[in-house]
């Protein structure tokens, strides 16, 4: 295994067995397509040319070995220029010692060393070493006797996502998008603001919004602030009303007003305004408005059609449909199971459960009492009513869970 640390500072020897310099860096080419970045060559501090920095392309190098690099032929006068460009990166400046996302482990790690090797005959960057062993190797403390205590830990390059802003810009964060938004959120929580802001920038709005929803409240607040009202409103336009209100309530008054102004879509805006009047510790503060409402006279077939329409909407829960009369007064619920087992022509009021009392909560009831009720009667969701029995929203069990375990 060839490690970058053993090449850094390696003697460069030409064919006349003369030491011509020392390796100070290596350059790689990174493109979005290529799995392993190709090594273009090494940068050396020449001992001949007045200690100038020289670039030696790969084809000049005959033999790579730890501590020593042998050149093909002699180092003559005409020196190649150090390559530059959007896809050329320095291993020392852009990768080594920097933070990187380990996509498999879903965490942020620091690059302690780099493993190089031949992939289809071209020297490439294969993996990063994130182990303590890598640290010891670079400090010169590693010996075989320690190899049992400090296990190697290499992560293949195609399983990581660099955080360096320059690399990011030119190769994209697509690989990060393979993860679940909640996992991306966990990673983002560990990054510094500059990085997390940049990552949110590179994602499409819908994904960014979902990630932002999952970030824990204290960091969410900071992130929204640093995104600025414009971009924040952009993302938040993709969120459900209750999530939106949650964020609004984290922010100081003037900032939430600023975002509200820039929020696209007016019906949602009105809803948010209405929601913000509820205390966040009450059922009103926790409820969501994204659920399916039907009339008692609607047929089962119609209702099933309606459910199909909301299929693309990931947050809509369709385990229950809620029944209200013309004035919006709550009449009851119908579980999905019931819909599936009824005939299409049956009317909702016929199949609505009447035997037992349906548990509902009042809009100003405390969250704790809502949670108690839901736990006691094993409810997956519960309807929230105002004093006139009008249906305002529902609370689902995952809203309640999030409330009590905010950092998950």
């Amino acid at each position: 295994m060839l490690f970058f640390s053993t090449i850094l500072g390696a003697k460069v020897i030409d064919s006349a067995e003369e030491v011509v310099g020392k390796v100070t860096d290596a350059l790689v080419k990174m493109t979005p397509e290529k799995k392993y970045p190709t090594v273009l060559g090494v940068v050396i501090k020449s001992s001949l040319h007045k200690k100038k920095d020289l670039f030696l392309p790969m084809d000049m190098i005959e033999n790579w070995g730890p501590g020593e690099i042998e050149l093909e032929g002699k180092l003559n006068g005409d020196i190649e220029e150090i390559p530059s460009g959007n896809h050329v990166f320095s291993l020392r400046k852009n990768v080594l010692d920097k933070q990187i996302v380990d996509l498999a482990g879903m965490r942020i790690v620091r690059v302690n060393d780099l493993q190089l090797g031949r992939v289809q005959r071209t020297m490439s960057l294969i993996a990063i070493d994130v182990s303590t062993r890598g640290i010891l190797r670079r400090l010169g403390f590693f010996s075989q006797s320690l190899s049992k205590i400090f296990r190697p830990h290499l992560i293949e390059w195609n399983n990581i996502s660099p955080l360096d802003n320059k690399i990011h810009l030119h190769t994209g964060a697509q690989d990060l998008l393979k993860l679940h938004p909640a996992d991306i959120a966990n990673i983002i929580e560990r990054m510094n603001l500059k990085q997390s802001g940049a990552i949110l920038e590179t994602m499409d709005k819908a994904t960014a919004a979902r990630v932002l929803e999952e970030v824990q409240p204290s960091i969410k607040k900071i992130l929204v602030k640093s995104l600025g009202a414009g971009r924040a409103a952009d993302l938040m336009g993709k969120m459900s009303v209750d999530e939106l209100v949650d964020i609004m309530q984290l922010l100081p008054k003037y900032e939430s007003r600023e975002i509200l102004k820039k929020l696209p879509g007016s019906p949602k805006k009105e809803n948010v305004k209405k929601f913000m009047e509820y205390d966040e510790d009450t059922a009103g503060g926790l409820m969501t408005t994204e659920f399916i409402v039907v009339n008692p006279t609607a047929t089962v077939g119609k209702v099933i059609e309606k459910i199909k329409e909301t299929l693309h909407h990931p947050r809509h829960t369709s385990l229950f449909v809620y029944v209200t009369d013309k004035e919006g007064k709550f009449k009851g619920v119908v579980p999905l199971k019931k819909l599936l087992t009824s005939t299409k022509k049956q009317k909702i009021q016929e199949i609505m459960g009447k035997k037992r009392k349906i548990h509902t909560v009042k809009v100003d009831q405390s969250i704790l009492s809502v949670a108690t009720l839901m736990t006691k009667y094993n409810l997956l969701s519960v309807a929230v009513l105002d004093s006139k029995k009008k249906l305002l929203g529902i609370i689902t069990v995952d809203d309640v869970m999030r409330e009590f375990i905010p950092n998950a």
Binding site: D97, V130, T132, L139, L193, K194, I222, I367
Partner: protein
């Protein structure tokens, strides 16, 4: 839900801000014993040092804030990304030694505060170490930190006391601007400790992480700068009154501080017979605050620099380095304090000495970072900041050289 109560406290503390919190945390076990020793053994003679390092403290803390706001990373991370692994290991080692020293001082402080009531350290230290670990591990770290921070504001009683003892303020102010040096080993020892307890390596890491964690932005810079300056000023006002209080009581009476009971006597003009209880309470709170904050701060900085997973939500398996460092930095200091007949006050002062001696190492890194436009952009240092910071670094190194010379050759004794 406890939400309703905590936002108020959180809000209250967010108004206080990092500058003042860092400043208050400076008055820990090492601080109180060093300052008491300064006053009791040398009277007003070191007030000029305190006066000068107030500026140094303000400038160095401001630099930490600026690096944090610009890089959005802790100091450990910035060092790692810009100086490579070897220098990082060196800086982290220096910080680790300084911090373990300070944590030892905190445990010595806990032991001392109970020894005032004749409760043996063999009982108190194991219990305290266990409490610290449990509170940290159970995750109510931030709450504990805040509670003890509020209690440790007790040091303000020294200000009241400072007026009650009716010191010669005229003489005190003259001493502040008249450099006096005694060419003795104890003088230089104490002087370095005074610097080391005011400007600390961990304080440098702390302030930077604080602004990063709070998500403060460059647009907050002006406010933060003002706050840091006020913080430095307040710290040193408290320091000033601790020195004055001990100078007016112990120094006058010619009493050398050899345990906490002696140091507590400085509060007698204010508290009379309660002086010892008051002192013990304050020392205990400040020590506990440090004992909570420092192991975690140490572990965070090291893990950030070396890329190990950190934070109390990591599992034991993933975060074994994080937990190991915390445990070690609780257990090792506890064992050191439990060595029979170890002079606790001396341990506390000595730890600040170590801090002072190692401080230039960290400050030089800070200076290299803050003057590098590649890292700082347009926010590099202005000449005045550089001058004050370099004078501080040179001053400490010079004092250390003299001290080492004195102890090796023994010429001044």
């Amino acid at each position: 839900m406890k939400r309703k109560f905590w936002p108020k406290i959180v809000f209250f503390l967010s108004v206080i801000g990092p500058g003042i919190i860092a400043a208050n945390a400076d008055n820990d076990a090492g601080g109180i014993s060093t300052l008491s020793t300064v006053g009791a053994h040398f009277g007003f003679k070191m007030l000029w040092v305190l006066f000068l390092i107030t500026f140094s403290l303000a400038i160095t803390q401001e630099m930490g804030v600026r690096i944090g706001l610009t890089t959005r990373q802790g100091l450990g991370g910035v060092i790692r990304e810009n100086f490579g692994l070897k220098w990082t290991a060196f800086a982290m080692f220096a910080m680790l030694i300084a911090n373990v020293g300070t944590i030892t001082a905190e445990f010595a402080g806990i032991a001392s505060s109970f020894e005032i009531f004749d409760i043996s350290k063999y009982i108190t230290i194991p219990i305290a170490a266990l409490i610290v670990w449990l509170v940290l591990y159970k995750g109510s770290f931030k709450t504990a930190q805040k509670i003890f921070l509020i209690f440790s504001a007790f040091y303000f009683v020294y200000i009241i006391n400072g007026f009650i003892v009716k010191p010669d303020f005229g003489e005190a102010f003259t001493s502040m601007v008249t450099p006096t040096i005694e060419w003795t080993t104890p003088f230089f020892m104490t002087m370095i400790a005074l610097i080391g307890t005011t400007i600390t390596p961990w304080g440098q890491f702390f302030i930077q992480s604080y602004v990063v964690d709070k998500g403060l932005d460059l647009k907050h810079y002006k406010i933060e700068k003002t706050e840091v300056f006020i913080g430095a000023f307040i710290t040193d006002i408290v320091s000033f009154f601790i020195i004055i209080s001990t100078a007016a009581t112990l120094y006058k009476a010619g009493i050398h501080i050899s345990d906490a009971k002696d140091a507590a006597m400085a509060l007698q003009p204010l508290a009379g017979n309660f002086a010892q209880i008051l002192f013990a309470f304050g020392l205990f709170c400040a020590s506990m605050l440090g004992a909570f904050v420092l192991p975690v701060a140490t572990s965070y900085a090291i893990c950030e620099a070396f890329g190990w997973e950190y934070g109390f939500n990591t599992t034991w398996k993933n975060g074994k380095e994080f937990y190991t460092i915390i445990l070690a930095s609780i257990i090792i200091p506890s064992i050191l304090v439990l060595i029979p007949k170890i002079p606790l006050i001396k341990v506390m002062v000595l730890s600040q000495n170590i801090n002072g001696i190692l401080l230039p190492v960290i400050l030089i890194f800070v200076m290299k970072i803050i003057n590098n436009p590649k890292i700082m952009g347009e926010h590099t240092n202005k000449p005045i900041g550089n001058i004050i910071a370099w004078l501080t670094i040179i001053g400490i190194i010079a004092a250390t050289v003299i001290l080492v010379g004195a102890s090796v050759f023994g010429i001044y004794n």
